[in-house]
């Protein structure tokens, strides 16, 4: 899993079967210090509660689809949780 910041919402009008009503959010992956790292990507939201501005953890690959119901869906990144706090050894960064 990695950390990311939700930066936007995607509203698809046609999706594969099984993905109807699955929230799709644009996320910006972050490095360990909270700075943006790499390009933004679209992730399904398994919590169904994340929104723009929130710090989230996401999983990529085959495991991404397993967080959804139904799980046999074409998804490669899924938000797993909304992060309340990150406690790092040197400093603490509240969300």
């Amino acid at each position: 899993m990695m950390l990311a910041r939700v930066v936007g919402v995607v509203v698809p009008c046609v999706v594969c079967r099984g993905l109807e009503a699955t929230p799709m959010l644009i996320i910006q992956p972050l490095d360990k210090t909270g700075r943006p790292k790499g390009r933004t990507l679209v992730a399904a939201d398994s919590t169904r509660m994340a929104g723009p501005g929130e710090l989230v953890s996401y999983e990529g690959g085959r495991e991404a689809a397993l967080a959804l119901d139904p799980w046999f869906v074409p998804v490669d990144h899924t938000i797993i949780g909304i992060v309340d706090a990150v406690h790092l050894q040197d400093r603490e960064e509240p969300s």
């Binding site: 360990k32 919590t47 953890s57 495991e63 397993l66 949780g81 992060v83 990150v86 406690h87």
Partner: protein, 100 residues
């Protein structure tokens, strides 16, 4: 598997039910000596590792699900070991991992 060091933890209230009651550790990947690691990942703790400890991380889904005795858990990275010592050739701790 990945060699790394636990640098912290994350806490979530709203998360996938699989992660209820599980510790999620922020693990910094080991970098070659003389360089600074910028890469990290968040892994579920399976061995009771603490902040600052060098650890072994399994970054593969099927093995991770096997550890949690599940067939459909959305998990890929698991901390599966705590490391006492690393040596590469004659050089101990050549991976840049600091002593515990």
């Amino acid at each position: 598997m990945i060699l790394g060091r636990v640098i912290g933890e994350i806490h979530s209230t709203i998360k996938h039910p699989f992660y209820d009651g599980k510790r999620m550790l922020v693990v910094e990947r080991a970098a070659p000596i003389g360089t600074t690691s910028t890469d990290y990942l968040i892994a579920v703790d399976a061995v009771g590792a603490g902040v600052g400890q060098p650890v072994l991380v399994l970054d593969e889904g099927n093995g991770a699900r096997q550890i949690h005795r599940s067939t459909n858990a959305p998990v890929r990275s698991v901390v599966v070991g705590i490391i006492d010592e690393v040596s590469e050739g004659d050089v101990e701790r050549a991976t840049g991992i600091e002593p515990v």
